[in-house]
């Protein structure tokens, strides 16, 4: 099966050649039709940059894809000209962003903003019809009284409602791929639950593959069937979501799960990871996680671990993860107590 989106060895840098900073370094993952892929990682780990760069949404300069490919249904977006990518954006790929309060144009009615998504990809439809379709989309994402609301402006809506509008824009053209970049991070839990439901329904109706970015493992566990764990611009671990969360192989994944408070954990079960994520300016040598890793060895500081397959369904970038009959396990001489 051809993956809906396949990112291979993607490397994105900022700044002038020679003095560039790598925000994303050799990222590889893909998402199949109808599947939901969850991308987790702390802030600055490159989750957004990967996807924005893939779809040509990063300002260039200063951003540049310096290596790798991004295939959408088999066609390489990284080498396609901007106009062609634009025809895919918004039509075959819908975006939902983190900031519902600022993602909508304040001086345009929401009906027009949804209709615009249709009009720019279909010159023949005309605004009249597009507006009617916008009203349908609004009721699809659960907005009451859409006829009337379509004529209102974004500031008249709450964060949750604005996120629904953004979702309506994203699914306006029945996309093949839905990218939701922390769609609920700015929202209250009760509203988050509503929005996740809307995304789930939208995905069911359109049959789109979905990439859901979040720093909340709970959200990923609820929504995704596959998971990608990113750290410092690299993928640390990827695999079936449930497996990875139950049985993490990579020390970072394990640490991330252990430090997140849940509705089951006690204070003593929360184990912080010492230190902090590195900045782009001072990226550690070797394994980027080594300054914070409990299992680090000398080799970790000098050699970057390869991102490799472990078993049939798992990928890990750690020197000390070994394939076993049951899948894989971490084999290190001893844990260092940080």
């Amino acid at each position: 099966m051809v993956p809906t989106l396949s990112i291979k060895d993607l490397t994105v840098s900022f700044g002038k050649p020679g003095r560039e900073l790598l925000a994303v370094n050799g990222v590889t993952y893909d998402v199949q039709p109808g599947e939901t892929l969850g991308v987790v990682g702390e802030s600055g780990s490159g989750k957004s940059v990967t996807l924005l760069a893939a779809l040509g949404l990063l300002p260039s300069p200063p951003a540049r894809i310096s290596r790798g490919s991004v295939e959408f249904q088999g066609r390489d977006l990284a080498r396609m000209d901007a106009k062609k990518v634009r025809q895919i954006r918004g039509k075959d790929v819908g975006f939902i962003f983190q900031e519902p309060l600022t993602s909508l144009n304040p001086v345009m009615t929401i009906g027009d903003q949804i209709a615009e998504a249709i009009v720019v990809h279909d010159q023949n439809i005309g605004w009249q019809k597009a507006r009617a379709r916008a009203v349908e989309l609004m009721s699809l994402v659960g907005m009451p009284d859409p006829e009337r609301l379509a004529k209102q402006y974004p500031h008249e809506f709450s964060g949750g409602m604005r996120q629904r509008i953004v979702i309506a824009i994203a699914i306006a053209n029945n996309p093949k791929l839905l990218i939701a970049d922390e769609p609920t991070t700015a929202l209250d839990v009760t509203v988050q639950a509503q929005i996740l439901d809307v995304i789930r329904e939208a995905q069911e109706k359109t049959g789109a593959a979905t990439i859901l970015v979040s720093h909340d493992l709970g959200v990923i566990a609820q929504m995704a069937s596959k998971i990608v764990v990113m750290y410092a611009g690299r993928v640390m671990e990827a695999g079936d979501a449930e497996d990875v969360l139950e049985n993490p192989l990579h020390p970072y994944t394990a640490a991330l799960i252990e430090c997140a408070p849940t509705m089951e954990s006690e204070l003593k079960d929360i184990h912080p990871i010492p230190g902090q994520s590195p900045s782009l300016m001072e990226m550690p040598s070797g394994c980027p996680f080594h300054p914070r890793c409990r299992y680090r060895q000398d080799v970790c500081a000098s050699r970057v671990p390869a991102y490799r397959a472990i078993g049939s369904d798992r990928h890990v970038a750690c020197h000390f993860v070994e394939e076993t009959a049951e899948g894989g396990r971490l084999v290190v001489p001893a844990a260092i107590d940080a």
Binding site: A193, A221, Q222, A255, S265, L267, I270, P272, I273, R292
Partner: protein
């Protein structure tokens, strides 16, 4: 709120110190005028906090939870007397500090400190760590020779190397800045610190560091704290008591274990159920998804404020506001049809 004290008698045995409340808030109310006119009375009021009552136990952490706009920050700022309450009592050390004047407030400021959500905004970017930590000592007239040892002690407490003392806030990460803000609040040894979303802006790994830090500080110093947060899993882990606010009113309050173990108010149940669980299998029990958004606090629903989103609402809920009533376990709930 007399029924509260009468209900307290049958409570489980805890140490005297724990039981004693360092701070008590009774009927706290704060209204903000909006739509001000040049002359005369304002036309509209936001009831940001309405008749809120709770007590903070010695050495304890009381958490205030609720959706955005529910009045958490306003409660915090009012207790720290950065805002003047519209009415109600704030009992601290046997005195009501709700309406006292600026001069008497000096003493209060020494005992009640506040740490804000955004450490970038609360730390002066042009001051070094040393200056930032010195400032409260100077303001509260600590003897000069004690400044240096106190600063060393504070840095030690919050886990920052002493070599950082001459750096500026922008040279630190979010987590480190929050440590500085905490050190600053601790500087003059207050009895109570109000933390307003101290970890919301931080990465989970760093958030966990700060949570553990706060717990350790409390164990070491006997500090009482008010912890404002919208994150229920964090609150569950660190709080002894919880107050659930909705549109400025207390919906439910009680010891953390009680409240999370057997939530009685429909709103609390919905909040807890909305937290995404890490393990799919265990969370198959029916999820409650509230419909709609928080109504405008300027125009709250009649009767029970939660009724527009409540799935248990009956006719009476629209006409009569439920009283906050407690049981023997100090578990209070304001609902006509609690669980």
């Amino acid at each position: 709120m007399n029924h509260i004290s009468s209900q307290e008698k049958g409570f489980r045995v805890v140490t005297d110190e724990e039981m004693r409340e360092v701070l008590r808030v009774e009927g706290l109310t704060k209204h903000f005028a909006i739509d001000k006119r040049l002359f005369g009375q304002p036309r509209k009021w936001v009831q940001a906090v309405d008749n809120v009552t709770f007590g903070v136990r010695g050495r304890g952490t009381l958490a205030i939870v609720g959706e955005s706009g529910s009045g958490k920050t306003t409660v915090g700022r009012t207790i720290a007397r950065l805002l003047k309450p519209s009415s109600g009592r704030i009992l601290f050390d046997g005195n009501d500090i709700a309406q006292i004047d600026e001069r008497s407030l000096r003493g209060v400021r020494k005992e009640i400190q506040m740490v804000f959500q955004n450490p970038n905004a609360s730390l002066n970017p042009r001051m070094t760590v040393r200056q930032l930590l010195c400032e409260p000592l100077i303001v509260h007239q600590w003897p000069k020779e004690e400044h240096r040892p106190r600063i060393e002690e504070l840095l030690e407490t919050v886990g920052l190397p002493h070599s950082y003392v001459d750096r500026y806030p922008h040279e630190f990460s979010g987590g480190q800045r929050q440590r500085i803000a905490i050190a600053r609040a601790l500087a003059i040894r207050p009895k109570v610190i109000i933390f307003d979303e101290p970890v919301s802006a931080l990465d989970v790994s760093v958030q966990a560091q700060i949570i553990q830090l706060l717990d350790r500080i409390q164990a070491d110093t006997g500090l009482a704290s008010i912890f404002i947060s919208h994150d229920l899993s964090v609150v569950r882990a660190i709080s002894d008591d919880v107050v659930v606010l909705y549109l400025g009113k207390v919906m439910e309050a009680g010891p953390s274990r009680e409240l999370f173990g057997s939530p009685r108010h429909p709103y609390t149940q919905a909040l807890i159920s909305a937290v995404p669980k890490m393990h799919k299998r265990k969370s198959q029990d029916a999820r409650i998804v509230l419909k709609g958004d928080l109504p405008s606090p300027a125009n709250p629903p009649s009767g029970c404020r939660f009724r527009t989103r409540c799935w248990k609402a009956q006719d009476i809920c629209a006409t009569k506001a439920p009283e906050l009533e407690g049981d023997a376990k100090r578990h209070f709930v304001a609902c006509h049809f609690p669980n």
